[in-house]
Symmetry: C2
Subunit: 327 residues, 2 copies
């Protein structure tokens, strides 16, 4: 079975996941570890190697069975050189870190690197909700909002590898301040961070809400997707109002993407989206459909939920590794 397998790795701010797959994307083994970004870049790199080795053990295969490895990482980064630039999500020690070269040397395989949302888009395209379509835009909603664009069955990276930054589409000119320092980006009005900010502001201003009680009961200090879900289920009006607004803005983003790129499919993923499912998808789609310039798009553009959830990244990374072998 020499050189027939792929490894996909998803490096996140809090955890890292590695899978071993067949060339068709069937998972044979996997391993998850904490990132422990605070221990610094070289420690994280060593742990990446260890995680891959453990995934290989889990699959019962050897290093020499691996044809290529793909890895998704928070950016900014350069897929061509395999270098991760200074990346706030990974801490201050990342600075032009040659991730692809390091892994390639340590594991003796060709390595391809791309950003986390791009590999997620590739995963959904080849193995998930976008399977069988030529063109899609995947939008992932979490603490931020990121996106990946597939055109003519290929990841569209742009001229400086920064295409797909849909989270920084300005939909509310002069609106709330975004983490990027600008105003009115969709990330500033529809991300989980924005939702949490608005609910907390409402509470601080004296609005009634059961969110503080839920946080206390669950011992959480951030408003995770499950907290939002429970507040909605228990009829919390403030949460309902803030979510309606966030979903309205996401609908505008979907419409903007469709009006500009006219793709076949929009895939929505990320924590909040996956947790709420149809309760999130339906209102977003309804707003988007109102804002399509070409009203045929109502029937022809598919706005769907991601299928791979936490595995979109690793599977996409493995599939990018497969692409590498074709070159």
């Amino acid at each position: 079975m020499a050189k027939k397998l792929l490894v996909g790795v998803d490096l996140g701010g809090t955890s890292m996941l590695a899978v071993v797959t067949t060339k068709k994307g069937k998972i044979l083994g996997e391993k998850k570890n904490k990132t422990l970004a605070e221990e610094g870049a070289s420690s994280v790199l060593e742990r990446l190697v260890k995680t891959v080795e453990d995934a290989l053990k889990d699959a019962g295969v050897k290093r020499k069975d691996v044809a290529a490895l793909g890895i998704g990482s928070p950016g900014p980064l350069n897929p061509k050189t395999g270098v991760v630039y200074h990346t706030p999500n990974l801490g201050p020690t990342w600075n032009n870190t040659p991730v692809a070269e390091y892994l390639s040397e340590k594991l003796s395989v060709p390595v391809v690197l791309d950003n986390d949302v791009n590999v997620g888009a590739v995963g959904e395209h080849i193995l998930g909700a976008g399977r069988g379509y030529r063109s899609l835009v995947a939008i992932f909603v979490g603490t931020g909002i990121g996106g990946g664009i597939i055109l003519k069955n290929k990841l569209y990276q742009g001229e400086r590898y920064t295409a797909g930054e849909v989270g920084h589409t300005i939909v509310a000119a002069n609106g709330p301040l975004c983490g990027c320092g600008r105003r009115g980006c969709v990330e500033a009005v529809a991300s989980r961070t924005a939702i949490e900010r608005d609910i907390r502001a409402g509470i601080a201003a004296g609005r009634k809400s059961i969110v503080p009680r839920i946080l206390e009961e669950t011992g959480r200090d951030t408003m995770s997707s499950s907290v939002i879900e429970r507040a909605l289920a228990e009829g919390d009006e403030l949460t309902r109002e803030v979510m309606d607004q966030a979903m309205f803005y996401m609908g505008l983003l979907v419409a903007n993407v469709v009006n500009m790129l006219d793709p076949q499919v929009i895939v929505l993923g990320g924590g909040v989206v996956e947790r709420l499912g149809a309760a999130y998808l339906d209102p977003v789609r309804e707003t988007a459909e109102q804002y399509y310039l070409n009203q045929m798009d109502k029937d022809q553009v598919h706005v769907v939920l991601s299928k791979l959830a936490d595995y979109a990244g690793v599977l996409g990374a493995a599939m990018l590794a497969r692409e590498l072998l074709k070159k």
Copy 2:
């Protein structure tokens, strides 16, 4: 000189222009006529044929010297079938009108049809401000705002030929009503129509402005680009304020396009833009640069004025005709 020449046609709501060019886009002859849309589709089609024939005469060449013809038209239309659907800009008699087939039969040449802004983008890409670049987005500001996308040296049309509708990017959620019936599209806050609406609203509300005097002196009833230019030159505060706002929104649009598509060049064209030149370009670019997520883009994305002005459409149409011959 058999079959070596191209014809490019630009069909607009008020006038039509035809040129005869070499395969390199050198203009050998041309003819402009009124569209007279009110006379109905078949009359306009006949006048298109006559205009092409007059352009051929002007060039001193014969029909049989023409290898292919390209035509840009207001949409919606289908470039694949060469049919123009019901198109408000051309009047009520246009309804699945087979423009390409008609011209092809009457003139005995292969014909390619695309929408006016797409052919304009192709013109600027091959012969104008985007010459030598692989990827550009052209944005034309007039009574509406339209755009055309070139990726990897090819016109990007999308899955239903509706890509590039950048004028209907929502930048001001819940903002002013757009001609398309939705709210907050950039066309509703930055087109010439939006500028005129806001200046007139200011005047109606009692703001001081010299615009009414300019309109009276020039005998115009709409606020053309030249009226806007003169009002600015004479220090009209209301016009200044409305234009600043419109240019701010155009800057947001440019940033949205760059953040999503990461192209090499943004070309700005259309009446207002060409009339004001650097006085329009500079503030738009300044806002856009503030809103680029990737701050490298400041140095690397070129935001430039169109070069071909009224000839972008006809030259782009001729160049699309040239593409047709390669297939």
